[in-house]
Symmetry: C2
């Protein structure tokens, strides 16, 4: 196992220590239970956004805590759901009196634990709503999931809904917006290589030197199919078509196109993918009005990419463009 | 070879096509000869900054073209110097009448070609100065270099000097500032794995499953030594101490600490390195006043890290904090 770590059991703790000394202007770290909150939390009168999930997908979610995005993130062990006490304490720490929205990726452990935390928080008088993200069109039901998996759309949701909360919208409005985003965004990913979970010490799956996996999950869960590696343009087509056909995206639609790197993919390759993805979208009459290109929801050092398309309107565009200041996404401030 | 590409010979062209459609608000692409310029180039009365080098180090340099940083970048083939005609045409395209600064990493081909381009540009009446970056303390003379290699400090120089040019400083002032930065910044890197140049189709070097290379170059050139993989804290010490001792950095110094990912290293690991690097700096009385953490000067999909320290003062801090709007670095706008 080739990793820049000390002991596998200290990876998340030491990462949090690094974040704490790197970004004191943006975040505070709470240990035991572990969570990351905005430096100015709680923000009085603002709906607070809490997300979380297994570590190993950085910068998601901890790198998205800050003005205009998340109020708190709960990191679990690598590829392992955080616990209800992390979520509960984070919820209490960021509640500014206007309620808290939980953004939950659709994995069985995450959903169960966030539900438990929400019930406990409500018992303490905090208004909590939850939105489950399930944008991955690759498979229905999976290793850790009933229904579809939550993947790249989570990043876009956290940005857009974060801006809406910053604007002063109510908990109901913010939750409805998140559900709308989930209803009009779709994703699919692929891998050239596996990743290695530090505790496991060996690759999550074996993939021969000339093969790739289409429809991979962000924890290396099985996708749709394995096949010989194809040129980038064909791979892009294999990801874009199921996305377009699923929603379906239609001629005249305006979209945000997000080409994501899985952690071990050079940026040069993501631009090659982006180029072809735009060409395919345009061939279907779909207009790319906003974009995001880079490693934002990763699977440790996995080589691969995922594509997310979100149907936009003037409200979503305005919220996407709004200022954001986090370690992982920053503009306008 | 596992890459998201089409044909190896089309990698740079298709990357440029991707950048062109992704960032029309930031840059324009010129083909044959290939270079990337600011969308609003030439900026009248402003000193223009031109850099360039082999591709495969993205986001450097093309991702740093934009307001507050570079005016143009010349991408060569992967790990291959761009040609003098690229540099000459880029220089002419961005000259706003206040002169042009060439920022050149110290590799034999880059230095020779930028010198030739500068001579040709001067022959056409353009005022050109050049600064060579040679911050890598790992080795003296190397596979492609007489003297030290230019690595991570280049990113910091492009940001800081870009802000100075934006402020309206003269060509002489901007060039002197770049030389000052080169004199007070040092770097060193290491690799866990090799990278694979698309044209070559196989790893640049072989590194056994339990070994790492300390002092690696950004093209996979040999470093100081190979050894069994150590814990992250020991690796950080092996990079930090030669950096501190070389300048030397002294107790009381204020620095910018840059922990760079080589392309295939998860962000989670960079924060573990950053945490230890700050601890080592503080133990020596060195105060980290600014930081940069992420993959900014990469070697395709190489797994590894490099550390750069730059001694700061109030002028450098002000310039570092100034607004920048590029695909690779953005804040304040």
């Amino acid at each position: 196992m080739k990793k820049l770590i000390n002991k596998p059991e200290d990876v998340v703790l030491e990462e949090l220590q690094g974040i704490e000394i790197a970004h004191p202007d943006l975040v505070k770290i709470h240990y035991d239970p572990n969570f990351i909150v905005r430096a100015d939390a709680p923000v009085k009168g603002k709906v607070a956004l809490v997300s979380g999930g297994g570590s190993g997908h950085e910068p998601m979610h901890g790198g998205f805590v800050g003005k205009g995005m998340l109020d708190a993130a709960c990191p679990g062990a690598v590829f392992t759901s955080p616990t209800p006490d992390q979520m509960l304490e984070a919820t209490k720490a960021v509640d500014g009196g206007a309620g808290v929205l939980h953004i939950v990726k659709n994995y069985t452990g995450d959903v169960m634990n966030f539900e438990m935390a929400a019930d406990l928080a409500k018992g303490e008088g905090i208004d909590v709503e939850a939105v489950v993200v399930d944008d991955d069109v690759a498979v229905k039901d999976s290793l850790y999931t009933a229904g579809r998996r939550g993947v790249g759309l989570t990043v876009l949701m956290e940005k857009i809904v974060g801006a809406a909360a910053e604007e002063g919208r109510s908990l109901k409005e913010v939750a409805d917006l998140a559900r709308k985003i989930n209803s009009q965004g779709r994703s699919m990913g692929m891998a050239l290589t596996s990743c290695t979970v530090p505790h496991a010490g060996k690759p999550t799956f074996d993939l021969p030197e000339d093969e790739m996996e289409i429809g991979i999950g962000i924890h290396g869960e099985p996708g749709r199919t394995r096949m010989k590696i194809k040129p980038a343009d064909e791979i892009t087509e294999m990801l874009m078509m199921p996305i377009i056909e699923d929603l379906p995206f239609k001629s005249g639609d305006e979209v945000l196109l997000f080409v994501n790197g899985m952690g071990g993919t050079p940026l040069i390759e993501l631009y090659i993918i982006y180029r072809k993805a735009v060409e395919i979208a345009e061939k279907h009459g779909i207009k790319v009005v906003r974009k995001l290109i880079g490693p934002y929801i990763t699977s440790l050092e996995m080589a691969g990419t995922s594509i997310t398309m979100l149907k936009m309107d003037s409200d979503l565009i305005k919220l996407w463009d709004a200022p954001v200041k986090t370690a992982g996404l920053r503009w306008g401030i």
